[in-house]
């Protein structure tokens, strides 16, 4: 890989009172690549997502965007760079229809009057290019299934043409078939050249869609694996802490993406 990473974190630390939530965490995201962020509860996954999305900035550390130093202090900063986040709660307005949710906050209008036809047209186009199957874009989001809602939330995050997409446990509430649809969607988004950070507990999902897995344990990096070569046992033992850290790091060290 010759391009610099889209997003690169180094030495990220964050402390909540007496708890060291993150310590010297490193992470790199490249265009067209899915990185899974794995780790046990309390390992610092959500904290790291909040650092990147600007919801909870880091105390220390360096963030580089396409090779240049940036500061992400507010969610707005992350948006401006091109970082989109889909939170676990999805943050949708149940009473609005799919079109309304997709364009929420960026409605197409002429002097304040909504252009519903144009918005619906683009919404249909987006749903079609992403092969998302929903009964009707004019349906209130409340009437959609969990998987469909998740798909709508992800496609909404793509509206601003971001370069990095953060997904917080997108498959947690989904059934088997919905999960496989969602993984297809993630691959499609990846193929459009986006960098994706996928928080997940599910080893199956990680194996299916991720290129690399970054494991956090107790707020520190605890290994970076190439999904195609690493065994599931290796990853799991790294998550649970059963693995010998030195070995894990040595494995990681052979990975060129790791500095």
């Amino acid at each position: 890989m010759t391009f610099p990473p889209v997003l690169s974190l180094r030495g990220i630390s964050k402390r909540f009172g007496g708890v060291q939530a993150l310590l010297d965490v490193e992470l790199q995201l490249r265009a067209g690549e899915v990185v899974a962020l794995a780790g046990d509860n309390g390992a610092g996954k959500s904290t790291l997502i909040k650092v990147i999305s600007g919801v909870g900035p880091a105390d220390r550390g360096v963030i580089e965007w396409e090779g240049r130093l940036v500061h992400i202090k507010r969610p707005h900063d992350a948006h401006a760079l091109g970082i989109a986040t889909v939170y676990q709660d999805l943050a949708m307005c149940d009473n609005l229809d799919v079109v309304g949710n997709l364009f929420l906050g960026r409605e197409i209008d002429r002097v304040g009057i909504l252009d519903e036809v144009e918005m619906e047209r683009r919404a249909r186009e987006l749903m079609r290019t992403l092969s998302i199957r929903i009964p009707d874009v004019r349906m209130p989001v409340a009437a959609l299934s969990a998987g469909q809602r998740q798909a709508v939330a992800i496609s909404r995050s793509l509206m601003g043409a971001p370069k990095v997409l953060l997904l917080d446990e997108p498959t947690a509430a989904l059934g088997v078939e919905q999960t496989s649809h969602l993984l297809d969607l993630i691959e499609q988004v990846r193929d459009r050249g986006m960098a994706i950070l996928l928080i997940s507990h599910n080893m199956g999902d990680i194996k299916a869609v991720a290129d690399r897995v970054a494991v956090l344990r107790l707020g520190r990096n605890n290994g970076l694996f190439d999904v195609s070569t690493a065994s599931q046992e290796q990853i799991i033992s790294s998550i649970t802490g059963a693995a010998d850290n030195a070995v894990a790091h040595r494995t990681a060290g052979t990975e060129e993406a790791w500095p």
């Binding site: 709660d89 943050a91 307005c93 149940d94 009473n95 609005l96 906050g105 304040g112 619906e120």
Partner: protein, 434 residues
Amino acid sequence: MSGGGSPRDAGTGGGAGTGTATPGRGPRTRGWQRSLKGYADEVRGRVRVGERGPILVVLGLIVIWLIFQSLDDNFLSPRNLSNLSVEIVGTGLVAVGIVFVLLIGEIDLSVGSVSGLSGAVFAVLNVNLGMPEWLAVIVGVASGMAVGAFQGAFFAWLGVPAFVVTLAGLLVWNGLTLYLLGASGTINIDEEGLVASLTSEYFGAMAVAYGLAAIGTAGYLLAALRHRNRNKAAGMPNRPLSEIWVRGGALAVLAFGTAHTLNRFQGLPLALLIFLVVLVVSDYVLRRTRYGRKVYALGGGVEAARRAGVGVERVRIAMFMVSGTLAAIGGLFVASGLTSASPTTARAAGSGMLLINAIAAAVIGGTSLFGGRGSPWSVLLGVLVIQSIASGMALLGVEDSVQFMITGGVLLAAVAADSLSRRAETPGGRPRAG
């Protein structure tokens, strides 16, 4: 009536265009069936997300009218219906204000007192202090807007629950009204004046009522057809043309029927015209503008709205200002109907009858107490139900005590229906969010 905004919602107010289609009409049978199927699907979808169509309320209204007509022949006389169309306006305007606040998931309990206050402010300034009538009207309405801004700020910035702020307001503004009227007691307003004419002015020329009916019907048809053509040009699926004509036809029957009835008495009342204009404008702002979308978004999820860049605090304050303003305007119509502002009516306003009626009107019409669902048009239907009951019972000489119990019961039934539909909203009982 979701925030979704397609012509299917374009208000007939009575929703009279729904469900009236009868299948099997010659060569177009196929189109009809498709239209019916589409409609059935739509109803199913709505019921699934907890939206009651207006059809039940329309049926309820018809039943109420038939009952009162059978008890008293005069109930459906042009005279009584015309009076009814004027009587609904005061409560109706207050209820439209309530709809704005309900849409963001809050409540304003002070509207009854605020309407009393604006009437008193107007009467004291105009009659006692000799201020020009137009200026007194402006000050009266502005007082309502100021009250709304004050209460909204308390809620939005200090985080005091809206029902507590406005409950305190209910007492405070009622106290202020009584204080203002205290020195003079009942103030009779000029019977020839501007405010009095609000409820006493009629457009006697038949052409006015019929013309309005024609404009309304044509406006609906043009908007619906234009939307259809744009949809077609963009290559998107459309609802069948027959449906637009059925709805337009139903609207025409309703509009011209109303115009005919009004013309058999004194013509189109000014009050009704103002009410309809307020409904059309509020509905347009809420459903078709960027700003209105923010309001619905706020009702659908505060966090989602905030993340989408909605200025939550400012929208909240604005909605309370709208409700205060419309309550004040409604108060002027109430004062106009009585041609006076008196401590007795102020006490009555403070007792909450107007408040209850306004909330009931909004909720009966289908606006949800839980935010994000409803429309100003719901008020027209709801206030007709409420005022028909009140008017019918007054005609029959039913005592206040019984009226109170019945109105309270109707409100409770409407709110219960709202709560039940909300419970049905989440398919499979899945917990919301996360």
